[in-house]
Symmetry: C2
Subunit: 142 residues, 2 copies
């Protein structure tokens, strides 16, 4: 598979910003993650990236995800069962509903909950550095 040159140069400039060398595997992974609208795991990401860069190894996928994570461009979700699942870091924070039957993930966010978390922690003498709110759910039977 080929990568549109507009998309490709967008990826390249993002990588340049991050001060890392421009490689086919990093371009491929970044492209795959930024295009995804789900929450794929490492194997799925490798599978998708291989369509653009067939040689990409699992080790490189893990390494690259770690560096993207540290530079804040991706988020890692550790849901129950199976390995971590990744997504592009969005402008605004959100939490997740995980369908326990299908594994599907949907997003939500609640300013009220976020504020309550802050207040509760504060009252107990803590600053919230980060948090995880996962709702494991089942579709209501109509």
């Amino acid at each position: 598979m080929e990568l549109g040159s507009n998309r490709k140069s967008r990826m390249i400039s993002l990588l340049r910003n991050a001060n890392v060398r421009i490689t086919d595997q990093r371009i491929a992974l970044l492209s795959v993650i930024s295009e995804a609208n789900d929450h794929p795991d490492v194997l799925e990401l490798q599978k998708r990236a291989k369509k653009i860069c067939p040689s990409i190894s699992l080790a490189t996928v893990y390494r690259t995800l770690l560096s993207f994570l540290e530079s804040g461009v991706v988020h890692r979700n550790s849901f129950e069962g199976g390995g971590a699942r990744y997504e592009m870091a969005k402008e605004e924070h959100h939490d997740h509903i995980i369908d326990v039957d299908t594994g599907e993930v949907v997003e939500f966010n609640s300013d009220i909950i976020e504020n309550l978390q802050f207040e509760i922690a504060s009252k107990m003498g803590y600053d919230v550095i980060h948090h995880r709110l996962d709702l494991y759910c089942r579709k209501v039977s109509k």
Copy 2:
């Protein structure tokens, strides 16, 4: 170490209720968990249980925790980094604050947050089966 016979028979009747054979390792583990007021991991649980039943193996700790989990007498917490941490199932639900510097865990609960979770899920067509709310925090510098 010995186990007070009052405590021991309390453990035994709990196990009898669960319809499993009464073994020294199950008595030891159950006793250790029900006495803990922190959130120990498997290795810590084995260490503590060994004081009562020196022969208890890691495999048995894992196996027994799983059966306790299935019968609902313990809860398993998967915090970031390291293995699962366990606690006795309490009457009422609570969530956790994890001190990112020390690993210490403190508990809290907020009916308002719980209700909001329910409402959000409901509005999106889901029933909440279970959930996880972990606040990774740092003590406020005075």
